[in-house]
Every structure is written in C-alpha cells, then in structure tokens.
Amino acid sequence: MAIADERPIGFGRMKRKEDPRFVRGQGTYVDDVTLPGMLHGAALRSPLAHARIASIDTSAALQHPKVRAVITGKDLEGLGLAWMPTLSADTQAVLATDKVRFQGQEVAFVVADDRYAARDALELIDVEYEPLPVVSDARRALDAGAPVIRDDKEGKADNHIFDWEAGDEAETDRVFDDADVVVVTQEIPFQRVHPCPLETCGAVADFDKVTGKLRLWCTTQAPHAHRTLYAIVAGLPEHKIQVIAPDIGGGFGNKVPIYPGYVCAIVGSILTGKPVKWMEDRTENLTSTGFARDYLMRGRIAADRDGRIRALRVDVLADHGAFNATAQPTKYPAGFFHIFTGSYDLEAAYCTVKGVYTNKAPGGVAYRCSFRVTEAAYLVERMVDLLADELGMDPAELRLQNFIRAEQFPYTTKTGWTYDSGDYHATMREAMRIAGYDELRREQAEKRARGEYMGIGVSFFTETVGAGPRATMDIAGLGMADGAELRVHPTGKAVLRISVKTQGQGHETTFAQIVAEELGIPPEDVEVVHGDTDQTPFGLGTYGSRSTPVSGAATAMVSRKIRDKSRLIAAAALEVSPDDLEWEKGRFFVKGDPEKGQTIQEIALASHGTLTLPEGVEGHLDAVAVYDPPNLTYPYGAYICVVDVDAGTGEIKLRRFIAVDDCGVRINPMVVEGQIHGGLAEGVGTALMQHIAFDEQGNCLSGSLMDYLVPSSMEVPDWELGETVTPSPHHPIGAKGVGESANVGSPPAVVNAVVDALEPFGVRHVDMPVTPARVWEAIQTGTTESPQ
C-alpha cells in the first residue's frame, strides 16, 4: 500500500492527533470549563499541623454579598460526608470536624459568585484552634507519649498503621551469616516529593436537581474508579454520575486520589443548585494533595569477595501523613516495594515495611511510577554501588556479574515476582557503548589527577507495571481489568472507546495506532474516546504505566475480535470458506488467489449492508473486550549519568545522561522517547532538588515553586537515548509500558554519579536531594550518614 510507505499503518513515528488543538490553545482543561450560572469554591485551610478545633464562626462570611454558601465539617456530618474512605481502606476528613491533622488541611469551603470573592470570604471565617503537640518526624511517631494523631479511630492509642513483609527472613539471615561474605549497611532515605503537574487539581460539579444527574468535570487519572467511589461515598446512584476528565495538564500520580475539594464542589452544587468550580492554587496543590515517597530505608547487602551478590534485606519506615491515602492495590500496603531485589539473581531477600501516621499531608501516591517501585529501585541501585565501592569493583562490571541472565527468563524473584522477559546484559552493554564508558573512566582518572571531580553514575532498573491480574489486584475492591469498545462504522472509520485517560501521554494517537496495526485502518480514521464515564467502558485508569499493558492489550484484543468477525463476513461476501482466507494488514484475501479479497472497509460496509450473514453472525462491526492481564510487565533500562562537581561550591553540573530503555515493542517511538525525556527530567529533579520539607512544628517549607524546585531547561542535559527491544511474551502486542521508567531509573544514576565524583573525599553516600549545600558538607566531612 502506498500509504504504508509514507506513514506505516500501525506502529511507527506518527505526529500526534492531540497536537493541533493544543498548539492553538484550544485544549479544554477543567479550569476552561464554564457553565451558565457557575459559582466558584475555595477551601479554608488549617495554618497549624495539629490542633483541636474549638469553634468555627462563618457568620461574617455568610454576610458577604457574593457568598452563596459556607460549608463546614459539621454541615457535612449531617450529610454523612465529613469523612471519606481513602484508597487504602483508611478514612480521610473531607472538612475537619474534631481537629486538624496537617497544615493545609481543609476546614471550610466557601461558594461564591466569582473566584476572587470566594477567596475574600475565606478571610471572614473565624476558626479558634487549640494547638496540640506535633509529630513531624516519622522516627518519633511511635515514641511512647507521642501525640495520637488518629484519635478519631476508636481505640487507637498510637500512630502505627501497618507492618508488612516480603521474602524469607530466616533464609536471608542464613545467607548473611554465611562465612565468606561482605556486608554493607546503609540508611537510605527517599525524601518526600510531590509530582507537581503543571495543572493543579480542580473540578466543576453540576448537580441537576430535576434529573438527579451529577456531572463532574475533574482532574482525574481514573474517572471510572472515581465514579464508583462517589456512588459508594455519597450514596448517589452510579448511573446518575458522569465523571468527565477533559484535557489533563499532567498527572504523574497526583490526580489518582479523590480530594476533599472535589467532594466539596459536589456538595456545593447540590446545596446551591448551581454548578460549582473549585480550582486549587499551587500552594494548595503542593501542601495538601498526594505526595510521594517519604520512605526511610535501611539496606543491608551481602556478597562474596569475588563480587557475587547473595542477599539483600531492607527495613523501611514509611511516613504516610495524617491519613493513609496511599494509592495502590489493596493487598499491597507497601505497593510493589518488594521488587527491591532489582535486576539481580539473588539467593535470598527479605523486607519489612512499617507505616506510620505523622502530622503531614496524606498520601502517598505513585509518582510517575508503579507503586513504590521508584523507592525500591533507588534502594537496590545505591546498595549495589556501595558494595562496588566496598569491593573495589567497577559498578558496571559488578552489575554485569550479577544480572539475571537472558536464559533465566521468565525469572521468579525471591519475593515472588515473575519477570516476563529481558536481556539485561545487552541493554547494559548498549548503554556503556553509547556512553563510551571506558573512555569516560579514563577521563575521570586524568581529571582526578588534576584535582577535578567528575563522576560517572550507573543504574539499572526493572519495573513491575501494568497492574494487574484481577484475582490478586484491586483498588478499593475494583479489579484492575480494563475494557475497550470498538465500533467500525459503515464507511470503515472507527471509534475506539477506552477506560484509561491520557494526561499528556498521547493515547488519542497511540491507541489509534494499535487499532491500525491490528486492522489496517489508518490511525487518522480511528477516533479515540476517553475520559468520560458515560461514553467509555469501565476500567481503572491511567497510572502505574498501566495504559499500554492493560488498556492497550484490551484494544488489541477488541480489534482481534473485529478481525475474527470480519473473516466470517468476508467469507460470506466472497462465497468461500473462512478457512480459505488469509489476512494481510487491512484485508482478507483468498489463499492462492490474492487478487480476490475484501478490505476492512468493504467488510465494514457489508456488515452494515444487505449481505446475507452466516448463521450466528450479527450485523454491524462492533465489539467489546475486557482485558485481565495474566501477569504484570517488566520494562527495564540501563542509565549512565556523567556529572562534574565543583568542590569549592558543591555545584553539580549534569553533563551527560545516557538512557537505554527496553519497554518491549514500541508503538510510536516518538512518543516513547518523549515519555523517557520527561521521566528523566523528573527523576533528575528528584535527585537534585525536589523536596517537600517540614519544620518541627509541621509547617510545610515547600509550599510554592519558589521553595519546591523543579528542573528548568538549564538543569537538564541533552538526553542521549538508546534502545533494545525484548517483547513481553504475554502481552498481545509485546509492549510493556514506558511512561514512568525513566523517573524510576534516573535518581540512582544521578546520586551514584555524584557519590562517584566525591570518592576522593571518602564520601560513600549523599542523601537526596543532592543539593550543593549537601555536597559541600559531604566534602568537608566525608560523611556517610544521613542528615535529618
């Protein structure tokens, strides 16, 4: 086909279908939605991290001429809505009733004629607080006498949330006790960070009293799951709830949970009978919505002198904030942290995770990663580097010596994951080739001799993404399978309806390409509908790199259903047996007579026309599919980072970053590369600057983009990408998902590079974010300890 020469039908580089509207400023984000008579909401937030609420006086606010309603926790109590369930089977206050538990917590909600008036009225609400002692450090949360944060929970006498373990402790102990071993122990915190999508969170709620229908435009990565939760929480009938996720200005996990503001907008609309818009500002976004990480990890690694890594143990103290609002599959309170064995063939592994409450914002979310995979990858990749240092081995060589070998796949880890496919050695060697690894080491040696501090950081990560098999994975009881519906119209144009929701990943393009690959319908002839629960089949949404592994698979499967049906229709049209037909992309033809055939467009017309259909074949060319993944997928990659450190100032210059990703089959390489670029920038930001910090009183010190630093164009290098392709054996098109890989793999590469640069000073570890101040301090002290 001529068209295939210019632009392949199916997979390949293709410009995005989304872009024409975005470059014209014609995207529709939540804050762009304006409805007739729409009012504006704003939340009053607690200035204190822990305090009892003695009284709330809203009378002055209610007298403001533009104010239509003021809602407090007491009002919500009357509706049974003062508390809502979190995604982790905990409860979270919608508006505080008894006390506030973190700075920035929602205390009251004003509905007014415009957004300025709503903010004005917040100033008129008088709240009397009685301050309480604060738990701002997770290490103190379980101290005897620590203030009990969750005294709303009956019988709760401490700040403990859960204990969880994975692996075999006895076997791990046995290997550690074995004679010929080197053991390295290190505390490795992963600081609290925030995904900080450029668009903050918000909603427009429109409740129609006559029809009883609630329409909610919302910044959500999971519109269907949200709809069901609203039905359960608010008691609204689910068929009367329509959640619409319009264009989303980045999510990165921040837009997975349900936030109090959404619920208040809904209540505001029900109370006033008008649509209500709530759009948080940046400070509200950073201080109250889903943070990520905040894991205090203590790692121990055991190895033989010859470099064989034998066992790994990690003990984690997890800070979940004031409400356990972690977003992850229900049976996994620490997410998928037990992939901390990484890419290595170990004899034994064991981890414990202890979750605690603190007076901080609730979370945590999976920030551009599958649940807790970033923490796990950082831990193991730092430990391996520490071991390399201890053994006096090159970190790349140590990794090559211990990787799971290609012939071992599928490989079951000591903590129970079954990795689907991989050739880690090939990917690592490709990264070393692109980097010119040996040459870099020579350059480093020369520079060290001159007193210049250049560092080369290596990391290798394996992710577990695409959650997940519904037998073992659910969120709030909802199995993690996703639906897809495909309608091929009479003229051969198609509409694909999917459950997942792009926040910039380009689903409207890449999912059309999957249909195109399977059916030969050009991608421009496939309209992808998503983000509207009335228009799309049920599914759990986009996070944890699950769109391509789950919904992409559903799209391939529904396309194959159409293809199977097309065979029967083509056979009827051509008056041959279905078995006599052969498929080429876009067309069935008669075996041995290739001229005689039917294109998918001709079949579509026939299916809607007057052709006499075979027994049991219904008219039209539509199908639905629900994909229940048999396993997760395991993308991986090798990253090499080169830094130059100014020993006088501690300044770090990121000179090069090489990323070789293997995400299986690449649907649109342009989009894949874009995803990797973005993940690298966020990972570099995490390593070098992003930090949600608190003081002892629980004041958030990172409440604006002046304090919470994210990378600009000046801090990131010109990314150098490479690829290897090892298809997933169980995914219908062999794809693995890639949106988050680079954010998982890059932080350890950066930190390893900085520590490598500082090796002449005896520095073995520097905590993230690796700021110039921390580097300078490490140079002065050769510190290996983690500052608080």
Binding site: K15, E18, R24, R115, C196, D247, L705, S713
Partner: protein, 177 residues
C-alpha cells in the same frame, strides 16, 4: 474599572476589578483560555503572553496595567489558517505532551525568534528557562524552536505588532530553576 486593550489585533474593552490579574482577565473575562494559570509566584510561565511583543507572565501583571497595550496570546499565533512556524515546530518535534505549558513556551519562542532568528540551542535554553514543563524534559521543546527557526518566515515583525525586533528581550526568571 474599564480596561481597553488590543488582543490579537482586535480591540477589546471590558469591566474588571482593579485587582484583577491579567491572566484571569484574559481567561475569565475575555474567555481566551489558551493562556493557563499554573502557579502564583511567577515561576512556571504557563501564563506567558506577549505584551507589546515582550513575553510577560500574566499572573504577575494586573489587567489594569495592560490598558492601552497590545496583547498577543496563543489564540493569535495562527494567521489566515496557517500555523506560526513555532506552532508547527512543536507538532513536528513532539514539543508538547499535556499541552499545559505549551502556549507560554510558544509565545516565548516567538519573541525569541523575532529578536534572534537563528538562536543557538543554548540561547533557546536560556530563553525558556523561566518556564516549567513537567512532561517533555525540554529536549523536544528546544528541537521544536530550532525547527521553527529553520522554517520561519523572514519578516516576523509582521506577526508581532507593536514589538520592535531589537526591543524584544526574553527575561528568564530563575527562581524555579
């Protein structure tokens, strides 16, 4: 108060409170929602528009201060059905993902190219350094602007009314860096 200004070549007049920020005036009053609101501290640049040809963070400027001035927003980049080379470049080079930073980035790029039609990659980096993108890692934004430079029209002043080429300055604000 009444505010009179020129937006994308057309005169506009509307009432607004004196405290109204230009970004909200453009979005809520004039319904030009292509200009976005991403922070409150002039760090993110999602709200960048051109004021007399110069990139300005419209969350930092009162609508009243724009009275009598020429504003250009993303909605005014396309001319007679033809995309500005900057817009085309962002499509060609995958310079956007979620699209939220894109209007501001493109307008800064337009101002840069008006002042310096053949910027180096480092000059492009500096020009956009006061604006944040969370999706692209910047590489493809730089490529998109380079594409526009290579495919741009000779006389861009025509598309930038009120902006003297040698007056156009990009002003990186490094707090977010």
């Amino acid at each position: 108060m009444q505010i009179n200004l020129t937006v994308n070549g057309e005169t506009a007049a509307a009432e607004a409170e004196p405290r109204t920020l230009l970004v909200h005036f453009l979005r809520d009053t004039l319904r030009l929602t292509g200009t976005h609101w991403g922070c409150d501290t002039s760090n993110c640049g999602a709200c960048v528009v051109l004021v007399d040809g110069e990139p300005v963070k419209s969350c930092t400027m009162l609508a009243a201060m724009a009275d009598g001035h020429e504003i250009r927003t993303v909605e005014g980049m396309e001319r007679d059905g033809t995309l500005d080379p900057v817009q085309q470049g962002f499509i060609e080079e995958h310079g956007l993902q979620c699209g939220f930073c894109t209007p501001g980035m493109m307008l800064t790029a337009r101002a840069l190219l008006d002042a310096n039609p053949t910027p180096t990659d480092d000059e492009i980096r500096v020009a956009i350094s006061g604006q944040i993108c969370r999706c692209t890692g910047y590489k493809n934004i730089i490529a998109a602007i380079r594409w526009a430079a290579e495919h741009g029209e000779e006389d861009e002043v025509l598309t930038s009314p009120g902006g003297e080429a040698n007056d156009v300055v990009t002003s990186p604000q490094g707090e977010g860096a």
